[in-house]
């Protein structure tokens, strides 16, 4: 396993995933789509954590532990975020972040 694929390959894939997620978070208009971008970024981080765990210190479970924490927190974040969007949608009839501008200036 370790011989088949170098660590750098995983890191580059994770970097690409992160960059795509970043683009999603920066460029999408729909709040839920932004959330999806953030989820992608979190996944990229997780891939990094697990890859480093596997390649650098497989005996120590810290990498997996933190990946699990991130999964749990991402789930919580998604729940809260979506609940917020639904609440916003109810009161303002839109989930486009450009139109939710009550706090501007």
């Amino acid at each position: 396993m370790v011989e088949s694929v170098p660590l750098g390959a995983y890191l580059v894939v994770a970097a690409a995933l992160f960059a795509i997620g970043l683009y999603g978070a920066l460029a999408r208009r729909h709040a839920i789509a932004i959330l999806m971008g953030v989820e992608l970024m979190l996944n990229a981080v997780n891939v990094n954590l697990v890859a480093f765990w596997r390649y650098l210190s497989p005996a120590n479970m810290s990498g997996q532990v933190f990946a699990t924490f991130i999964i749990a927190l991402a789930a919580a974040e998604a729940a809260i975020g979506l609940a917020l969007f639904i609440a916003i949608y109810r009161s303002r009839d839109t989930v486009s972040v450009e139109e939710v501008n009550l706090m501007k200036w």
């Binding site: 370790v2 660590l7 750098g8 890191l11 580059v12 795509i20 596997r54 005996a59 997996q64």
Partner: protein, 163 residues
């Protein structure tokens, strides 16, 4: 063996990245959600390749089975039920965003590709048991805090979402 695993890795990576691109390119948010599932599944595949089957299963269970469903649910709830694809899905700064994302990718890749020295150890045979011991041993406090955070998120989401 080498070629076989390498090609699986390539396939899984391509699935992940294509899924991710689909998320940010799709015309409708619902389609984005579907692509997101593909990407999540690809990440789970990466975990399998990295010999973390527990995380792979957790990824499928939580991301695909729960988060993605939640997102699709929210999409259904926040758009007119049979809504049109709408105007452009991207905002005005998408060009700058693309440049920044590309630069980010370059910077991250530059730092990633170096001469890592992989450890020759293999992961513990009963990784799930080791993980459980890690949670209830050195990481007890973070574990409990995460539990509390989840509980708070649960309550908060219910309060926010109910009318």
């Amino acid at each position: 063996m080498n070629v076989f695993l390498t090609s699986i890795f390539v396939i899984v990576s391509v699935i992940t990245l294509v899924g991710a691109l689909g998320v940010v390119m799709a015309r409708t948010v619902f389609a984005s959600g579907l692509w997101l599932i593909l990407s999540f599944a690809g990440v789970a595949g990466l975990y399998v390749l990295l010999e973390a089957p527990f995380l792979a299963a957790a990824q499928i269970l939580i991301y695909v089975g729960a988060v993605a469903v939640l997102i699709l649910f929210a999409v259904m709830l926040t758009r007119r039920v049979m809504g049109d694809p709408g105007v452009s899905q991207n905002n005005s700064q998408w060009g700058a965003a693309a440049v920044v994302a590309a630069l980010m990718f370059i910077v991250l890749s530059l730092t990633s590709v170096q001469n890592w020295r992989p450890s020759t150890e293999s992961p513990p045979l009963l990784a799930v048991n080791a993980l459980g011991e890690a949670f209830l041993g050195p990481y007890l406090l973070p574990f409990e805090i995460v539990s509390v955070v989840l509980l708070v998120a649960l309550v908060g989401a219910i309060i926010l979402a109910r009318e």
